[in-house]
Symmetry: C2
Subunit: 216 residues, 2 copies
DNA sequence: AGGCTTATGCTCCTGAGTAGCACTTTGAGT
DNA sequence: ACTCAAAGTGCTACTCAGGAGCATAAGCCT
């Protein structure tokens, strides 16, 4: 899943084979999001998608585990980034919740290419909203990643595996991101990276109130 | 989805047709959980399941939207119960989070038949743990129900639809339940209803600490 | 009792996802 | 430079989930 640096002499440079594979993968994501957006997830068969990218179905399934995954790829990249970062977080004596919030903002900032990612995410999100199977896949991936992160937190913080607190803190951060994503997707106009980050900060700010507020 | 009282004179009594349908449904859930547990989710085809219950595949799909749903039925009943209850909650000036926690405990208590439900949940849970597609379906159903509950909360509390707090509070309650479920499933021995409720209370108690705790 | 509604069964069909085999490309050893 | 092993790719054939149309039977109302 994560790009790994291998056998080539210059670190950070990928072999021809690896670059080709990444290009194929990117082309599949790009074309899939375009076709799904245009004709709907169920209106596009895998055969059509593969034909458009000039790749066989076999190759598709070597890059993605399911039709749903190719539509969820942009957000998976974000969660993978967060998961990898947790390994190197400095915790000091700051509350874990705050460390995780900051880590998500950092992972999000890292996704800021020239706007390609943000455009993909917007499309992916809109598809998920009207396609239950995509939403289901995304939630499950998120849950899996959360379990992996929880495990890392337990290890790095020296906590009892039965302690529910790290997972709850993490789930709260994830729920905040989903809330931010919904709000951001609902906003009309061209999607921006800064806009998404702002929504996320705003939800984080509302979080303490979520625990204490009562009827107006 | 929810049992509705119809045309018969005595409220609470279902017509023969409706009772028969419910029996078929229950038989499908029961047999499905047994077969899936025995041979694995992918080791049982729908045709086999339908044959075992002596029902056609058409009938199966009139009762359930997918193979995954029949395995998730027990927990769906709980979420449906919570969703319906939210319509009649008294909020007073108690924090919404606490009202929701209490509501979930009440909905859970209502599931206490003689142990059949709890046995089904345990099996369903164990299946979900080793079958990603079941887990995905369950999370998506939960998310859908949460959206419906959020909508009800907005309406009943007179809140701005853009206010993220009710959904965050709800997500926290749901996350607590999932944590309790994981802990409960991990415990060996015969599953009990009281045990699950106790786990849930224990997670609720740990919740404030989840926001503030830092490295030991 | 008889007509109406609704569940059910049967059968055919599409498309996701898997597996086996042959072919090509790439990186490494000599 | 040449060769070989390893990995990626394409083709084909297969299983099974899930949906649609039409005919039948069971339960409901008058």
């Amino acid at each position: 899943m994560a790009a790994d640096i291998s056998s080539t002499s210059v670190p950070g440079t990928l072999s021809l084979r690896e670059r080709k594979k990444l290009r194929t993968r990117a082309a599949l994501v790009d074309t899939a999001l375009a076709l799904f957006t245009e004709r709907g997830f169920d209106g596009v068969t895998l055969d059509e998608l593969c034909e458009a990218v000039e790749v066989s179905k076999r190759t598709f399934f070597r890059n993605f585990a399911s039709k749903e995954q190719v539509a969820s790829a942009p957000l998976e990249a974000l969660w993978n980034g967060l998961r990898d970062d947790v390994e190197h977080l400095a915790f000091g004596h700051v509350p874990v919740l705050e460390v995780l919030q900051e880590a998500l903002l950092v992972a999000l900032a890292r996704m800021d290419d020239g706007g390609a990612w943000v455009t993909h995410v917007r499309r992916s999100r809109e598809l998920a909203e009207r396609t239950p199977s995509i939403a289901a896949y995304g939630l499950q991936y998120c849950d899996d990643t959360s379990a992996a992160i929880e495990e890392a937190l337990q290890r790095r913080l020296g906590l009892d595996p039965a302690d529910p607190r790290p997972r709850l803190a993490l789930d709260l951060v994830v729920a905040s991101f989903h809330a931010a994503l919904r709000a951001w997707t609902a906003k009309p106009g061209a999607p921006t990276h800064a806009g998404l980050a702002a929504e996320l900060r705003s939800v984080f700010a509302a979080l303490p109130g979520a625990l204490t507020f009562s009827m107006a």
